[in-house]
């Protein structure tokens, strides 16, 4: 059978990283092809190549449509070939109606006038087809994120595509909405539309996909008929890479319990009535690295945010820190209780870019400085310099602005900011996100040194080898629930992955 869409030997490089490595794959008319893989396997890059977001000269390889080579120089060219994308994040005009949002850019009518009766009729028809109980005239602002996601899918459908690409469309949907979407995707397929379905939910693959491709580290590692492959094999293929030896893990000296979290629930930030963290309980012991694994959106960062008092609204649960019940209403409370938090987004919430290394590194420990109101400049310089030396921050001087540093050195400054504050519990969200291998190894060394000094660490990580190698104990969250706890030999990539995709 001929392919309606084919990628041939596509390679996309970023500075220092190969995001897609010689990827070739074809899509048939009237099939659903699922692409699955871990966080960072290259799924989103693949999607941007197909959408024309990366122009054809920005990558190597070719795209063929209907057996002919196509030159995707822009998004418009891809659309012209009948490709429609549905992204995870939604771009909606919040104060326009449902109908206007679905048909934006393709409003019916002539001479610049919109034919509103027809617009509403057409919209009603699409809504009926899918079975979504909203009205064409309704303002979009009042809709929840699941309904918004459905709208962006309908927007794509309204353009009568030949090829649809969906990027984890169900992550914001309720079960009911997921059912509606799944059955409509099947209907679209049966009417001849080719669908590329990016997901990491195996259940959905088995439910509707015809074929499944597994991506890992930017490469297409396998392609199966869904009927002929077992779940276990897919999981192994998703994680199965060799582990590099950059983890200087030493025998931990694990002591008494320092933090206990009981029945923690955190409301979903956008979906009303749903929790992103659901009844999670665990404890942390002295000198331990407790890893938290799971997929993006499983509620890992929110768990840390709730412990640290970053997220407060609607959070339920009991927190015991060093044997005493703690009521943490803001980060200051958490800091006073001996907790520090290295967030995932350095630039957004880790450092202040207009300030220097010195000013950033002392930011969390200003209250520990010798004088009460005045900053003792000499003391500040000495402390900042000592921490900079200890973490081997590479910069011309501690007066260098932090924006001028590499990602790894910025991360060290953020880490140093907390170490100067001398917390006894350190929460670290994605400790090595976006930093090079050399700096990674240094950060792991620092983490090991900290635990040896009796500091306890909770580490959220999407980097499987890092999670498996650095954790003394490892929790796994899936859809906000605790689906696995592993210790010692049990911490394997396959175990973690299985728990991460458990429903």
């Amino acid at each position: 059978m001929d392919y309606i869409l084919e990628m041939r030997h596509v390679t996309k490089r970023f500075p220092g990283v190969v995001a897609l490595n010689d990827v070739s794959i074809g899509l048939h008319k009237g099939e659903i092809l699922a692409i699955c893989g871990e966080n960072g396997a290259g799924k989103s890059t693949l999607m941007k190549v197909l959408s024309g977001s990366y122009a054809s000269h920005e990558y190597e390889g070719e795209i063929w449509i209907d057996g002919q080579k196509a030159d995707f120089t822009s998004v418009a060219v891809a659309e012209h070939h009948g490709i429609e994308m549905v992204y995870q994040e939604m771009n909606m005009m919040l104060d326009a109606s449902v109908a206007e949002n679905i048909f934006v850019g393709h409003l019916p009518g002539k001479l610049g006038w919109v034919d509103y009766p027809r617009l509403y009729a057409d919209t009603q028809q699409i809504l009926d087809e899918i079975g979504l109980p909203i009205k064409p005239r309704e303002k979009v602002r009042g809709l929840n994120s699941g309904q918004l996601q459905m709208l962006s899918i309908m927007r794509a459908i309204s353009r009568k595509p030949r090829i649809m690409v969906l990027d984890e469309p169900t992550s914001a949907l309720t079960d009911q909405e997921t059912d509606l979407l799944m059955s409509h995707m099947v209907r679209l397929r049966d009417s001849g539309v080719a669908i590329l379905f990016i997901t990491h939910k195996l259940e959905e693959i088995y439910r509707i996909a015809d074929r499944v491709a597994v991506m890992r580290d930017g490469q297409m590692v396998s392609l199966h008929q869904v009927k002929e492959v077992e779940k276990r094999q897919l999981v192994e293929e998703m994680v199965g890479r060799k582990i590099e030896n950059l983890y200087p893990k030493n025998q931990p000296q694990i002591g008494e319990e320092v933090l206990k979290v009981e029945h923690l629930s955190v409301p979903h930030p956008t979906v009303k009535g749903r929790n992103i963290v659901e009844d999670v309980s665990f404890s942390l012991r002295k000198g331990e690295i407790l890893g938290i694994g799971g997929l993006v959106g499983a509620g890992r960062s929110e768990t840390l945010g709730a412990i640290f008092g970053q997220i407060t609204g609607g959070v339920k649960g009991k927190l015991t820190v060093f044997g005493r019940e703690a009521h943490i209403g803001c980060p200051r409370d958490a800091i006073r209780a001996g907790i520090g938090f290295v967030t995932e987004e350095r630039k957004k919430s880790g450092f202040v870019w207009v300030l220097s290394i010195r000013e950033n590194i002392t930011l969390a420990s200003l209250s520990h400085m010798p004088k009460r109101y005045i900053i003792d400049r000499k003391a500040e310089r000495v402390r900042a310099q000592a921490m900079s030396d200890r973490l081997r921050i590479k910069a011309p001087s501690i007066e260098t602005r932090i924006v001028n540093l590499s990602g790894g050195n910025q991360q060290k400054v953020v880490l140093g900011k907390w170490l100067l504050e001398e917390p006894r519990i350190l929460l670290i969200d994605e400790p090595t996100k976006g930093i090079d291998v050399g700096a990674k190894a240094e950060i792991y060394t620092i983490m090991s040194e900290l635990t040896r000094a009796g500091i306890s660490i909770i580490m959220v990580s999407s980097d499987m080898p890092e999670l498996v190698s650095m954790s003394d104990r490892c929790l796994v969250l899936s859809n906000g629930r605790l689906t696995g706890t592993f210790e010692g030999e049990q911490i394997t990539q396959a175990n973690v992955m299985r728990a991460a995709i458990a429903q």
Partner: protein, 320 residues
């Protein structure tokens, strides 16, 4: 190579936006009318700048901390009017001034609450406060100036040290030095800069972001009221519209002085230069016998240039 480095260093200075136009201005005016440089004239410029600078100091904190306040002009008028009413009611000078500052503090508390606690956009919220205060002033004064103060009060604005340096210049000097030290040397100042640079990071680093922001709004209104009191003393009359329009010129002076309107950077010294620059332009035009209508045009051009420099500087230093 050397000169390029020099140029870059100069461009990186926060106060550049004021130093260059000021130098240019001084050269031109000096040619046209050398009497511009007479000691008396210089002292007069400083006195004019002082009334604005007293407000510009807390505004520097406010803007460096990422805030803004359009109600300062109204708070200035309010301070003068409250003080005048109190004096007319026979209260002692100290009590009258205290009442005026208290009135300013109430404006600041209100601003702080609605902007920080209830997260209203500062621009619109303080614009509303500006209208409301101006309304209250108009109702209570029937838009008539209040005058006839005792000399014990007037001397606060009219007196001169050694018969040369006007008292307001001295107050401004003290407030300016205190502000400079606070912004550059204290934990409070560092926290303000961190909040302006990245409020989320500051909050997660344990800084009491809201408390600091509210305290700055209060300080801003209190100093605006103080400036209003001093202006009433200086002109021996409390004008209901004493501060009208000054909110924008003062914020412009602060921006010209190198405080980023996006928050995160700012110096009190720069704000002082910005205020002096504005007073100098006005004075220079008078000395050169040019219509004062030109003042706004020139100041506008300098303001736009200053924002350009601010934007360039942020790009050059690798920010957004």
């Amino acid at each position: 190579m050397k000169t390029r480095d020099f140029a870059r260093n100069l461009l990186a200075r926060n106060e550049l936006g004021t130093i260059m136009p000021m130098a240019l201005l001084l050269i031109v005016v000096g040619f046209v009318n050398p009497s511009f440089f007479a000691a008396n004239n210089i002292l007069d410029i400083l006195r004019t700048a002082s009334f604005a600078f007293i407000i510009a100091v807390p505004i520097t904190f406010l803007m460096a901390g990422g805030g803004m306040d359009l109600s300062i002009g109204a708070a200035t008028s309010l301070g003068g009017v409250i003080c005048a009413f109190a004096l007319k009611a026979g209260m002692p000078v100290a009590v009258a001034i205290l009442l005026a500052l208290l009135g300013g503090a109430m404006v600041g508390v209100f601003n702080g609450l609605i902007i920080v606690k209830f997260a209203l956009p500062a621009f619109i919220a303080t614009l509303g406060v500006q209208y409301a205060i101006n309304g209250i002033i108009a109702i209570t004064t029937k838009n008539l100036a209040i005058s006839g103060f005792s000399s014990a009060f007037k001397v606060l604005g009219q007196g001169k040290l050694f018969g040369a340096v006007a008292y307001p210049v001295l107050y401004a000097l003290v407030i300016g030095i205190a502000g400079h030290i606070m912004l550059t040397r204290t934990k409070y100042g560092r926290s303000v800069l961190a909040i302006g640079g990245n409020a989320e990071t500051a909050y997660l680093s344990g800084i009491n972001v809201r408390g600091k922001q509210i305290s700055i709004y209060i300080a801003t209104s209190v100093f605006a009221a103080l400036s209003g009191v001093l202006q009433a003393a200086r002109f021996a009359s409390a004008q209901p519209a004493a501060g009208s329009g000054t909110e924008l010129t003062i914020m412009a002076s602060v921006i010209i002085g190198g405080t980023s309107m996006f928050g995160g950077t700012g110096t009190v010294l720069g704000s002082a230069l910005g205020c002096v620059l504005l007073a100098t332009i006005t004075n220079a035009l008078i000395v050169m016998n040019v219509s004062t209508f030109w003042q706004n045009l020139i100041f506008g051009v300098i303001l736009i240039a200053a924002i350009f420099i601010d934007k360039y500087r942020r790009r050059a230093s690798g920010g957004e």
